[in-house]
């Protein structure tokens, strides 16, 4: 989230789209209701009438997978009806920037300029700005790169800063504002209505209501989750929402923002920790063979020419120092060469791992709190691939479907040779450590009870394994010994692995004397500081009580609310630097005056900043050894090199979000000549078994219900929750039920080329038969929590049906929109 749950209470209009926040993030509802009480309007757009829709003021159905059409239409409506926040767009976005004259979009082919048929991806040269001049990097004693000359900093070439051409009147036909506007000309109400299956009246009501937050003193927020991301253009769905929020001037405001709701599983914390293959902890790039063969190329390419990321080398070298300790030196590039690097030949994102198991490339599989035999897309294929493994280690609190994949109803245990080890993990309340909530707040969770029987905290399991591996390497040697033998692994306290020691490492410290740091601003690229994760710097920085989490910011329990905007600055600690609302500079105009004085996050009084939140911009600078306020400027998005919000981008798979149809779609693309996004991943894999709309005419979306959690491994072992929602079901619109002779409660078969499942039918007016491009399309819904592994509640695996194709940026599968057929069983 750019904000946090409590901040939702400041909103004027909510748009819940691609989220079912009442069911899947129930705590968010508490804060939405607070705003609702004050008169806020709540819009829900969802393929199903969810429990969230029941609580909202306005509900619109939508065909799953058509969000970009929906938001494109909204962008056009906002521009056509002059609802955009003009001063904000002009100053805080790249609307005024002139785009490369080579930029083009061909509606007939559905392709942007720059396509490289060889690499099956876009080259970004035509998506960039026209540049006036390039200012070389300033390494002089007063320059931004002065630190690069210090002893111990590895040599690299800081990039020069480009100065783009602009037209502040926004009238130049080559300026992004005009090109953006032209791009969405096609997204008129009638077309969007036909593509999304929303009536023109409803569409107008939603657009008008949310567009009203373009007024400078209004804040609108978008709450989204997997309904937006789990598409092969999921990143562009998210971009589309970001663009809308920029047009309406909602990013950075209290009660505004673009809020990805993240929940209990500590998903925010685990992505922070570098869970994804392309990240190191703190969202730095993981080295790859092709792009970053050595430290210097990493530093050259990753160091930004402007904004905060000009400091990136400090973050990365401090991270290397934490990993390799005193073994990391300037001479050996701080151990960079020891890091295992991703090759370009084998993609190891989730969906690919099963292809690699299938071909025998991956022989062993470590699973830590994950259940892909139930949860990945095209699970049937995944299970078959797993059966070719030599071994599997599953670490979990219960025996999941994956730990028992050989018992799957569609597999024959006698033919599977995989050796499976199940290591019992401790429950959340049986171990100490941090959790990070959706609003990026870190909180210390204390151990309540000892783990049951032989179960151990994950950290302890990890530690035991690691120490044993190191011992084996020392005694017997092995392949690639350097990264293993050179690693600093000193997280014991009183002879035992301890999360407090890990917390100190995450926080960062000056190596000399191990003095904990209060800000990542103090990290250095010269090897004198260590930090496992720069974004957490300050959360555990009390040097007076380094072993007492309750004396640290992470244990803070103050209830004050300075400014009355539900920021609760003294309660827990939000990364980065306890900043509660990201991009908060944009909550005030270029002169630093809040757009709305009742919503003041930051405020320039004329000679100083009077802020309620921690500034997310350069608010002060050390001049002659003393911090001195920096007068307001328009650098509101200083994590970007251009320090500005981007209506159009020069990376990823599209410069501006364009509608494509889901991989399996019930209709043709009415907006351009191409069915799927050209960069869709894995569509060519044999395992995918695409179905046509003639064979499988029913559109389906999958989702969660509040009673269960993800693959159900936890909740299907809780009798009270099983009783509250005991069975898998399919929600069927009344019209389809009538056509197929399905009655409420009937057992049905739902199937496509990938799988076939038996589920009970809920026949309900909450699902819809939509009019799509002139034809009726039935849309059904399947919750995805069931599998065979439970003492109390079992069911077929819904993800057997989902296609294993995904997004080229996030590699997320397209769970949310595909095709099936349904019949009475």
């Amino acid at each position: 989230m750019t904000g946090h749950y409590c901040d939702l209470s400041n909103s004027d209009v909510f748009l819940t789209i691609g989220s079912n926040n009442v069911e899947c993030h129930p705590v968010s509802a508490k804060w939405v209701q607070k705003a609702h009480d004050k008169g806020a309007t709540w819009i829900v757009v969802d393929p199903r009438f969810t429990r969230t829709a029941a609580c909202a003021d306005i509900y619109s159905p939508i065909r799953a997978g058509t969000d970009i059409a929906f938001f494109g239409g909204m962008a056009k409506y906002i521009l056509d009806n002059d609802l955009w926040q003009k001063e904000y767009v002009r100053n805080y976005t790249n609307a005024a920037y002139l785009l490369d004259p080579g930029f083009d979009f061909d509606v007939k082919t559905g392709m942007f300029s720059g396509w490289n048929e060889q690499t099956k991806s876009y080259e970004f040269s035509t998506w960039g700005y026209q540049v006036d001049e390039t200012i070389p990097a300033d390494a002089s004693p007063t320059g931004a790169f002065a630190w690069t000359t210090e002893d111990g900093v590895p040599e690299f070439t800081p990039p020069g800063n480009k100065v783009p051409k602009k037209d502040m009147s926004l009238e130049d036909p080559q300026c992004i504002f005009q090109i953006f506007k032209k791009h969405y000309e096609r997204y008129d109400l009638d077309t969007v209505s036909a593509v999304c299956g929303i009536s023109v009246e409803t569409l107008e009501l939603v657009y008008k209501t949310f567009g009203s937050t373009g007024a400078p003193d209004k804040a609108g927020t978008i709450m989204y989750a997997l309904g937006q991301t789990q598409h092969h253009y999921g990143v562009q769905n998210t971009r589309a929402m970001g663009v809308i929020q920029l047009l309406l001037g909602n990013i950075g405001l209290a009660g505004g923002g673009l809020n990805a709701l993240r929940g209990e599983p500590n998903v925010q914390g685990s992505t922070d920790m570098g869970l994804l293959v392309h990240n190191t902890p703190g969202y730095l790039a993981w080295p790859t063979v092709a792009k970053y063969p050595n430290l210097r190329t990493w530093l050259d390419l990753e160091t930004s020419s402007g904004g905060f990321y000009t400091n990136k080398p400090k973050l990365f070298i401090s991270q290397l120092k934490e990993w390799f300790g005193s073994n990391a030196t300037l001479q050996n590039d701080y151990g960079y060469d020891w890091l295992p690097k991703l090759g370009s030949d084998n993609d190891v994102t989730t969906m690919s791992t099963f292809e690699l198991m299938n071909t025998g490339f991956i022989k062993g599989y470590f699973l830590w709190g994950q259940n892909p035999a139930q949860s990945t897309a095209n699970t049937k294929f995944a299970r078959e691939a797993m059966s070719k493994l030599d071994w599997m280690v599953a670490i979990d609190i219960v025996e999941t479907e994956t730990a028992s994949f050989w018992r799957a109803p569609d597999l024959d245990p006698a033919t599977i040779d995989t050796e499976v080890f199940l290591l019992p993990a401790a429950l959340p309340f049986e171990k100490a450590g941090t959790v990070v909530n959706s609003g990026r707040w870190l909180q210390w969770r204390y151990k309540a009870v000892e783990p049951f029987d032989q179960a151990k905290p994950d950290l302890e399991i990890c530690d035991l394994l690691w120490k044993e591996i190191v011992k084996l390497y020392k005694d017997e040697g092995g392949a690639n010994p350097e990264p293993i033998l050179n690693i600093k692994w000193d997280y014991d306290i009183d002879g035992k692995i301890d999360p407090r020691a890990v917390a100190q490492a995450l926080n960062g410290y000056v190596i000399e004397g191990k003095k904990l740091l209060t800000t990542f601003g103090d990290l250095k690229a010269d090897g004198s500081t260590a930090s496992a994760m720069w974004i957490y710097a300050g959360f555990y920085a009390n040097n007076d009580a380094p072993l007492d989490p309750s004396e640290q910011k992470v244990g803070a329990r103050g209830r004050e609310d300075k400014g009355g905007l539900a920021l609760f600055q003294q309660w827990s600690w939000a990364w980065p630097l306890n900043r509660r609302v990201l991009y908060n500079r944009a909550s005030a105009d270029v002169d630093g005056k809040p757009w709305d004085s009742s919503r003041s996050l930051v405020n320039w009084t004329g000679d100083a900043w009077d802020n309620n939140d921690v500034a997310d911009f350069v608010a002060s600078r050390v001049v002659d050894g003393a911090p001195t306020p920096v007068a307001p400027n328009n650098n509101a998005f200083f994590m970007n090199w251009d320090q500005i919000g981007r209506l159009m981008i020069h990376s990823l798979d599209m410069p501006v979000p364009e509608h494509y149809e889901p991989f399996e779609s019930p209709t043709d693309n009415a907006l351009n000549g191409r069915e799927n996004s050209p960069m869709i991943r894995f569509a060519d894999k044999e395992s995918v078994k695409k179905g046509t709309r003639e064979e499988y005419p029913i559109a389906v979306t999958t989702y969660s219900v509040v009673e269960h959690w993800q693959s159900g491994s936890q909740t299907r072992h809780c009798p009270a929750l099983v009783e509250a929602m005991p069975h898998q079901f399919v929600e069927v619109p009344e019209k389809l039920a009538e056509e197929r002779g399905i009655k409420n409660g009937d057992l049905c078969r739902v199937f496509n080329n990938r799988g076939s499942i038996h589920v009970h039918a809920f026949v309900t007016p909450r699902l819809h038969t939509l009019l799509i491009n002139g034809k009726e399309v039935h849309q059904i819904g399947l919750p995805h929590h069931w599998g065979w592994a439970s003492m109390y509640s079992t069911g077929d695996v819904v993800n057997d049906l989902a296609p294993n194709v995904g997004d080229p940026g996030s590699y997320i599968p397209e769970y949310k929109a595909f095709l099936v057929d349904i019949e009475k069983a």
Binding site: F49, P61, A720, R766, T794
Partner: protein, 289 residues
Amino acid sequence: MAKLAFYFDSSRCSACKGCQAACKTWNSLPSPLGQDENPFTGSYQSPLDLNGDTRLLISFSEVAGGSKGVEWSFGRRSCFHCTNAGCVQVCPSGALAHDEETGMVRVTEDKCIGCQYCKYSCPFNVPRHYGYNDKINKCTSCLDRVSHDRQPACVKTCQSETLMFGSRDELLAKANERVAKLQEQGFERAAVYGGNELGGLGLIVVAHHGIESLSLPANPRISGMVNLLDILKPLAGLGAAAVLAGLGVSFLTGIGYERHKLRYDEETHDIIDDETNEVLAHFDFDEEE
């Protein structure tokens, strides 16, 4: 009138069933433990009704219509803690009684004899019974928590401030305010339930789609037969006393009475007083034949 009360606002309820699960866990109420033992209910509502192990559940009702296309109403199904409580009225053993401190209908399980009269005298069909001896199971308002200054388990777990527990007067005022606001927002059928019903309920409900949407009876009454039952008890005592008194008089008047012996003479077909030889009756058997 109850001093404390629950408050349930259907317009805020998200039907997360947190209260339902919290009620089970705090009160150690079991759920079915067999694999796939729970039936498919054909609804988000599960179980479909209260049972011996379920004191509280969230009810669902979906009706096509309204500005959003569907009106999906979520309700709280549990004890209403009536001031004029049918269950308390009929309970023969004192297991159900009004708690003096709070006014809630207290359950003293040790006193329950399993007669289940409460189930049949409740206008809301709430009490359920469990176990071999049919012990009462109904909402206790978590008096074990309340008496230690804690909120009932369901209220404690509620995120959306749908459920509250506190001074009945304050919560009733809050409910009236809320309904006024909801009506202003266009919920024309919004209504407060529990203000005066049965002398005032200990569960005040704000029903934003109207009380019918939550299947609440418009005018709950304790069955006339239940009141009649109350009259019968003194009547039975009175009857017994009258009969005994009458018979007492009869006994006294007859005391010491010795009857003359009678004998029958088959020859003469006469009943004869054995002492005076007086013929008391004569039968004409032959003539009759």
